[in-house]
């Protein structure tokens, strides 16, 4: 698609460039400038990760060796070692990774399902109270950041005797207004004919939902899944409050605890950070085009 439209633009360009003696040169210069900018921004995005990655494989005493004064050697491990990784795994970082995987996975499956169902109801059904429900249950919670209301939620979870349990970590994070909103916008675009056809064939609404609608909705499913995954993978404030028990320790809490308790073991802090970062990065990159599709279909344009 990019190539086609690119040709369309350059076809229009001579009209604009008539005044200039050599618009060809201008064009090349412009392209060069774009590449310089692209590379500079890419370096800004990459540099912190590259340094942290290299430093996590470096003996602790030498972490800052090439950082100050800066030389490019800072982007490669000085004396490659796995001591930092060995140390954090010995302190139970592997369990934290496993816990976060489990929590995020369960949330993606359960949360993905119930939010998709709700999104479908808002997109495809007419019912009493639709508008008011949409405003109070979707829009309002979206505008109220969850951490702002953590205290009563904490008291509620305590009164359910859920402190230090998986339920306390999983259940409050399942219903998600943004996910419902994304699903609703996507489901509105599904042609009515498809739904009618399935209905005529006698499919129940639930069957229609799982067998017809969901298979058509890959971009929004992937986007919502990633979103729910990140929400739990990145969770910090809430687990800190409700699940301080070491057996339930999650990855962000483990990293932060390491910073508080081992302030000068820099390479270990960075090793934990790199492991915590690599998982979502690997999930994010292969599906890039779907997010743009899902966001575009969310109708934010108007």
């Amino acid at each position: 698609m990019g190539a086609k439209t690119g040709r369309a633009i350059s076809a229009a360009q001579p009209l604009q460039g008539l005044k200039l003696p050599s618009h060809v040169w201008r064009h090349t210069g412009e392209r060069l400038l774009i590449y310089v900018l692209l590379v500079l921004v890419a370096l800004m995005a990459l540099l912190p990760l590259m340094w942290a990655f290299a430093a996590s494989f470096t003996p602790n005493a030498r972490v800052f060796d090439y950082a100050f004064p800066f030389s490019l050697r800072a982007l490669f491990p000085v004396e490659f070692t796995l001591e930092a990784y060995d140390a954090i795994f010995a302190r139970g970082f592997g369990d934290a990774l496993k816990n976060s995987f489990w929590l995020s996975g369960v949330t993606v499956v359960l949360g993905g399902t119930i939010n998709a169902l709700a999104g479908f109801a808002f997109a495809r059904f007419e019912f009493r109270g639709k508008r008011i429900l949409f405003l109070t249950v979707i829009l309002l919670p979206f505008l109220v950041p969850v951490d702002l209301t953590a205290i009563p939620r904490f008291i509620l979870v305590n009164s359910l005797d859920w402190r230090n349990t998986w339920q306390a970590l999983i259940v409050p994070g399942l219903g998600n207004s943004l996910a419902i909103f994304l699903f609703r916008q996507f489901f509105e675009e599904i042609p009515q004919d498809l739904i009618d056809a399935a209905r005529v064939d006698g499919a129940s609404w639930l069957r229609l939902f799982f067998n017809v609608v969901l298979p058509l909705s890959r971009p929004v499913l992937i986007t919502a899944a990633l979103f729910l995954f990140l929400q739990q993978w990145d969770a910090y404030f809430w687990p800190l409050l409700v699940a301080p028990r070491p057996e339930l320790r999650l990855v962000q809490v483990a990293i932060s605890t390491a910073v508080e308790e081992h302030r000068t073991r820099w390479n270990e802090q960075l090793a934990g950070s790199m492991l915590a970062a690599i998982v979502p990065i690997l999930l994010l990159l292969p599906f890039q085009r779907y997010y743009i599709q899902a966001v575009t279909s969310s109708g934010l344009k108007d």
Binding site: L133, L148, N176, F237, I292, L300, K301
Partner: protein, 287 residues
Amino acid sequence: MTGRERFMPYVFLLPALALIVIFNLFPTIATLIESLHGNSLVRGGRVFVGLGNFNRVLNDPIFWKSMQVTGLFSVLVNTIQVVLALGLALLANSRVRGITVFRSIYLLPVAVSINVTTVVWGLMLNSEGGLINGMLSLVGIERQPFLIAPTHALWSIIVLATWKGVPLWTLFFLAGLQGIPQTVLEAARIDGAGRWQCFRFVTLPLLRGVLLFVLVADTVANFLLFAPVLLLTKGGPQLSTNLVMYETYRRGFVYGDLGVSSAMLSLMLLLVFAVIGVQFTLLRRRT
């Protein structure tokens, strides 16, 4: 729809909506109610204290200082992030070879949590031998006390929050840009519009919806910034990074004063709504 069919919508809605009502809506209302209660020293337990907590909060110079810090922080960080995200989206929307590789790289910080960002940038901003000081030294700038001077600390937090925050908003702007039909831009160009005019009078108005969404969502997200303050500065030096979110945590969970903490959170809640309201009216009216 008759009989059983009539209940179908509610069957679809029930699981998600019930959870949102219990774990999101109820706590929002409860925050407001909790802010009217305090610990009773005489009887133990919670008693109604009316606006007593608000009275204490509003007469507390530390709270006002942290409101000031939060206000300054919000204005700076949201402006910087939205402008950079829009600029970056325009850049990432250029039709040049290899652009998808650059887009993937730009997206990376989305996958990096704020805690990881805090750890990595915290070490890079180290005032002794951090990477940033190392780079500055190459161009002859002396070591900067990034996280330990009241003049620098808030800016350091803005920088790391921006590194993490901008890519997500860039993604939204990029999606918005790709939704603009090429024909519209070409028509403007043929009518003699220059690059800036195209952007100002064609692209920007068509991005209004995305802009509003990004502005609101970014504002809400930044009001909540907590981990960098907890891990790097503890609100200091001299309260220069004592964002309200951290102050409510300190009051509520470190000192156990849930009433005052809830009162602060209620005020934050009202503030969030006020700011969003202003953003809505401004952007709706502008075009």
